[in-house]
Every structure is written in C-alpha cells, then in structure tokens.
Subunit: 227 residues, 2 copies
C-alpha cells in the first residue's frame, strides 16, 4: 500500500503535474484521492521528504522540492544531519578508492559476477527510464558495492558499506537532477564494458569520470587527489 502510494506520488512529481515549489494537496485530501488512510499516506510522504523530493512544513503544507539546481551553496546545505563527514570528503574518498577497486575488479571479476552486474544495469536502466529516483539511487549504490566485492579486497568491500551508511546516515540519497538521470546509466555501461573486457585501466578511468560527474550532479565540489 505504502509502496503503491510512493510510486503514484513519484509519478505525479515527475509527470510535471506538480511544478517545483507548488503545494501538494493537503494530506487529508490526498489520502481521500488516493483511497488510502492518512497514516499510510504519511509514511510515503515521510520517505519522499527524507529523500528530498518534497518539503513538508507544519502549518503550511507540503511542497514539491525545488530541483537541485546548480545554484551551489544550497544543494549541499541539505546535508543537515551528516555531522561527521562532509559530502566533499566522501566523494573525494570515492574518487581515490573506487577507480582502484574497478581496476582490481577488472582483473578478478567472474562470469557470474558480470551477470549480476548486467542484471543490475538492466534494472538501473528500467528505473531510470521510469524516472523512479528511489530505485535508481538504490541500484546505483548496489552497482558500486558489487564492484567493490569483485575487487577481491574485503577492506574495499566493507569500506563501501561503511560510506554507504555515511550517506544514508545523512538521510539524503544522492538523487541526481531529473534532467541528468540518464547520465549515470551510460557511465555504468562504460564501466561494465571495461570490466567485461578485463581492462583495468579502462575500468579505473571510466570509474574516475563517473564519480567525478556524480559529485557534480549533486553539486559537490571535490579536489581530486590526482595520484
């Protein structure tokens, strides 16, 4: 039920039916429209609020979140709970670790793991095509985690799990700007192709590009260690 509501509201948002900044119907009204209880509706709205797709203000209403436009200084501020590490630190670290993880994965990846990655990519494509931002974010993370596992270095694999948690702790998934939701699909495709060809340099290169662009998409400025 809640999942259904989640899907339907996401559909409303991406259909452009509601413009950014525009208020959604009141919870009571919306619950009636969707034929669900207010409790179920609220669970869905809470999730969307946490993910940053909508903004909920007591006494005022619920509003479609302004798109994460490049007007920097604001997009990052949403990282309100991530006290420990800044987004820049996380992306900087990913820029260091993940290309190497990809290079190692290119050497050691098995056919079974490649199949898993391809399966993930297919689901990722489907989710992107339907603009299902929640699923894309989850599948994106899974892709990177799979590669970390394929690297054969458990330190890298566990580590990915760690900063996955860090991002989750900040309660803000790396949702891309809607207009750029298709970019990571292409980038993942390139990485996967390099892995399939067992090409360490290529995998590392495309991974580096991918992480850099991912940081850009969420409006984070990162200093590349360049090592």
């Amino acid at each position: 039920m809640t999942q259904t509501v989640l899907q339907r509201i996401q559909a409303m948002l991406r259909s452009g039916e509601l413009a950014p900044g525009q208020p959604l119907p009141s919870q009571r009204r919306l619950a009636e429209d969707l034929q669900v209880s207010r409790a179920s509706l609220r669970e869905a709205l809470s999730i969307l609020g946490t993910l940053g797709l909508i903004r909920i203000e007591q006494g005022r209403g619920t509003f479609v979140a302004a798109p994460a436009n490049g007007s920097d200084g604001e997009a990052v501020g949403a990282w309100r709970y991530g006290a420990r590490y800044t987004p820049a630190e996380v992306y900087q670290f990913r820029l260091i670790a993940e290309p190497s993880a990809a290079a190692l994965a290119a050497r050691y990846v098995t056919d079974g793991q490649l199949e898993q990655l391809e399966q993930n990519l297919r689901a990722f494509k489907a989710a992107a095509r339907e603009m299902d931002l929640v699923s894309t974010a989850q599948l994106d993370f899974e892709f990177h985690e799979l590669i970390a596992v394929c690297s054969g270095n458990r330190l890298l694999a566990d580590l990915h799990h760690t900063y996955h948690r860090i991002v989750l702790d900040s309660q803000r998934l790396p949702l891309a700007r809607r207009s750029r939701v298709w970019e990571p699909v292409v980038e993942h495709e390139r990485i996967l192709k390099a892995l399939a060809m067992h090409d360490p340099e290529g995998a590392a290169y495309y991974m580096r590009v991918h992480i850099g662009r991912a940081a850009d998409r969420v409006g984070v400025e990162v200093v590349d260690a360049g090592a």
Copy 2:
C-alpha cells in the same frame, strides 16, 4: 518526533547493539520502549527500510539488514563477526589510499604539521639507530597517521586508524628485518621533503614506493591496482 525516533534507531544500529540479521523488537514493543505511538515509529521504520538499513517482513519481524552479500550469496556469515583481513589486502588498500592522502597533504599541510612530522622523523631516526624495533613500528604508523590527518579528509584519517587496529589485532607489527631497518627512514625523509615543498605528485610517488617496499620488507606480495 519521527525524526527523533529515526536518530535513536540509527544510533542503535551504529552502536552495534543490534548485529546484522538480528531482529529488532516488535513494533508494539519498540514503540513502548521509545515512548512513541506505533504510527510515528512506523514512519521511521519505513524510511529506514527504504534506505536499506533494515529489512521488514510481514508476519516475521524487522531485521537489521545484512551487509552486502553480493558475491556468491554464500559467504554471507563469513564476516558477520569480526572481519579479518589478510596483510595483502591491507597493503593493497594502503597502496591505493595513502599516495592520494600524501598528495592531498602536500597541498594542505601547515607549518605546524610539518614540524610535527619532522619531530616524528627525528624520533624515528633515533629509534632506528638504536634498533628499537617496537618504537620504529609505532613511529612509522604515527607518521602515516599524521599524513592522513594533514590530508584534510577525515574519512582517510579515521580509516587509517581502522586498519592500524586491524594490523595490531593480527599481532603482526610491520617489523622490518634488521638489515633493512634503515630503509624506511630514508623513504620517510623523501616523503616529508615532498610535503614540505608542497609537491603533490612527488609526495604521492614516494609514498607509493614506500608502501610497496614496506610490503616487500614484511614479505607480502601485493597486486598494485595501478590506477
């Protein structure tokens, strides 16, 4: 309220109070424990479920999500308790992370930090001259930790702490063979010189060489990710 509950449950998960795969208290029980209504609790749990931190199964219960089991779906329980890493994995990871940390440190290191590093190097020299193997190992680690801190990336700094622990837990201090005890002193000197000159490429290069040779000195074969 919901936000508070979210924080508290996340705190439980982080603290390791609940191990992966272990069930959480039932919603009715948990709601009572946390002094909130089940509705509010459910909103928080729904969010955590969506984010993948917990797995909610109707009729069965709510469970702490297991860390990524990506590979074979078999070796899941393997590192549920206390992950162990081989020295090869640790050195491979250091080979990835530390050159980048050194490059960043070269950019951001302050005069005060350089002074600390120089002091460490002097003590390191003295310990090496006296063949004090325990002190050299400790000072060696401290040198690397200082550099991680200088990088300005707390993720790198905390990480160093982590695998320092891993190495200590394995009771396997990187003690050099007596005949080669002086080598790391020279290598540290080169790194420090690059840092003092604010030369990122040089610092990264000498660090890479240093880690590689360190692995060799303790007889570990490492595959360089080469990325």
